[in-house]
Subunit: 381 residues, 2 copies
């Protein structure tokens, strides 16, 4: 899409995380953005942050972005189609099929043609205008739902907005979108919440055994109940379908745990199927999964430890693909997993060992160090 497709006047309805972030990005891109919110405080905050001018839509508005909560999005879309009879209207709700149905039921064909649903995949744990960021959409997928009847010049406007915000556009059917997010986002949310809820009644002594595995599984269980009720209700049919498959598989595991004939095979197949599903999810940057080599370094907790190790890696000329801090329990001692391309592992091990770092995985490869072989390098200040 060419830059000339970017609408000059954009109106944003809803000054939450997504609406305010869109306003910031489009203002930066040179659009004249107006915005409104049912909460005067939220609207004022978004305007103060530079997301646009708090006002009604200009009559010449070319594009409206409805960033209202999912349960009112359809009504707001219809109202905007009526209020601005020339404008294209899009929304950013995380469900698409049910909103399209409701808009279709309430509009004429000439109105419906001006609605193009979309979904930027860019949530955060935090919500509200105060959490907005100009590059929230940068390098994220932004799904746009169109069909053969969608006027190309209106589709081009929505694509131009997504690209101006730095997003990667994906064209998907609403039904395909909804069934996909049910699997990669909505059902995982339910599963994480259900698992976390099993911990409520546990004694503290038992929870003390929790490790990083549990923490990862339930991290998104901290999500907002109000928003997620709307999302799950808005995609109820698809989420239900996935969860019924999960239940069938769960029933099989529960039966297998009686350890009757075939039980061991079912348990092994369950974990193996998880391996297979896990391998299908792309790694960093949306590429095919890369198996990085991991080098573990003991860094301790003192200030400067991370800076020193990253500086040393940089000086070795090795690019870091990912990092993970290992959360030890009960002591203040940390180790860092540094992930690099497999052919750089040996260089990293040799280089860091020579600089005095403790690499427990590679103890047998460390240079002999007669004095204090397990001490880290001296602090640099």
């Amino acid at each position: 899409m060419s830059r000339s497709d970017l609408p000059h006047r954009v109106h944003v309805v809803g000054a939450g995380l997504l609406g305010t972030s869109a306003g910031l990005a489009l203002t930066r891109a040179g659009c004249a953005v107006t915005l409104e919110d049912t909460s005067p405080t939220a609207g004022r905050l978004a305007a103060d942050m530079g997301a646009g001018t708090l006002s009604a839509a200009h009559p010449d508005t070319e594009l409206v972005i409805v960033a209202a909560p999912p349960d009112v999005a359809a009504d707001v879309i219809v109202a905007q189609l009526r209020a601005l009879p020339e404008a294209t209207v899009t929304d950013v709700a995380s469900v698409k099929g049910v909103i399209l149905e409701r808009v279709r039921a309430a509009t004429e064909r000439h109105e419906l043609d001006r609605y193009i649903g979309s979904h930027p995949m860019a949530g955060r744990e935090r919500s509200g205008a105060v959490s907005a960021r100009v590059d929230l959409f940068e390098a994220r997928p932004w799904v746009i739902c169109s069909d053969d009847d969608t006027p190309p010049e209106r589709l081009a406007q929505v694509v131009a907005v997504a690209e101006a915000a730095g997003a990667t556009v994906l064209h998907l059917e609403p039904e395909f979108h909804d069934s996909s997010v049910a699997r990669v986002s909505h059902a995982p949310q339910v599963v994480a919440s259900l698992m976390a809820a099993q911990l409520i009644e546990m004694p503290v002594d038992g929870i003390a055994l929790a490790g990083q595995g549990l923490r990862d599984v339930i991290r998104i269980a901290a999500s907002d109940p109000g928003l997620w009720t709307q999302i799950l209700a808005g995609n109820a049919h698809e989420v239900r379908d996935v969860l019924q498959h999960v239940r069938a598989d769960l029933d099989a595991v529960i039966d297998a745990l009686s350890l009757d004939a075939g039980g061991y095979a079912t348990l092994a197949q369950t974990i193996a199927a998880g391996n297979e599903g896990h391998q299908r999810v792309p790694g960093k940057h949306g590429q095919a999964p890369t198996v990085y080599g991991t080098v573990t370094v003991v860094v301790g907790d003192e200030p400067g430890g991370l800076a020193r190790v990253f500086t040393d890696v940089h000086q070795l000329g090795i690019n870091i693909e990912d990092v993970r801090i290992d959360h030890a329990t009960g002591h203040r001692l940390g180790s860092l997993d540094i992930m690099v391309l497999p052919d750089r592992v040996q260089d990293l091990v040799t280089g860091l060992s020579e600089r005095g770092w403790r690499l427990p995985d590679h103890a047998e490869q460390e240079a002999p160090a007669p004095a204090a072989p397990h001490a880290g390098p001296p602090a640099d200040g």
Copy 2:
């Protein structure tokens, strides 16, 4: 426990990840370690790595550590109790109740008194002697199961070994241990595997919508099917109990997704209960959960970016509590979440902004920069 409780002669049966790591740690602590494995190659590798001498147990062995797979652990424990009639025998399997039952059924009281089960909570995704590390147990919980009949001097030996390996000892009943790990480790493994398995049949276009939330939920789905079949079978009763609770809650969600009367309330309560369970899990270092302040920095992918930002944070005199690299999709662009104590957030924002870093969360707080306000700092080499 005093240092003098540490046994002089220790025999390790099983040269896998845990046995070899224990041999490395106890050799470092000054013990005379012998080790054996049914696989000559594994035993030779462990010995070459410095985990001990490959040989039968010395007749004066004071402590045997059984680090055999869970499904043969009880038989090996009984054999060692018979072979060394004076020695204390412990094991490191991740289930305790079923092993104790089997040992009890096969031994006399005077033999049983010499068995003390334990479980160091220190697994890795990798297995085998080749993955062993001298500090695998450092700062990790090491559960020891004793009762009123356990001879104190034998208990002291096992505690001394755990502490010599750097672990934090927790004294728990076998039943309490098993029901706790069912909740914090075994059931989460099943749930993660079941969720990941739902992705096997998905089209690639749908999986492209996956974000960090899904990746975290299913990370441990990459675990080894053979080992996990043994673990789940060994703790079948407790895991089944937790999974039946999960199934009951899952059924309620599936019903609620019909959106009949009360459905919305059930959905909201499910997510809220997940919030409550999530809050119970301790954060880093086993402390009560701390709500760190998070500052997001755009670092890009070029070599040295991480080194520069960590060096800048260090020079600002601010301690980093945790970090997370945000995995953008489709582009090679990364941002880093730096977590610090809440009262250091403002200093970090101000300091990094002054040094030219892009902090999208805090755009409104950046110092005015007329030229290239969104550019990162220049590369340092």
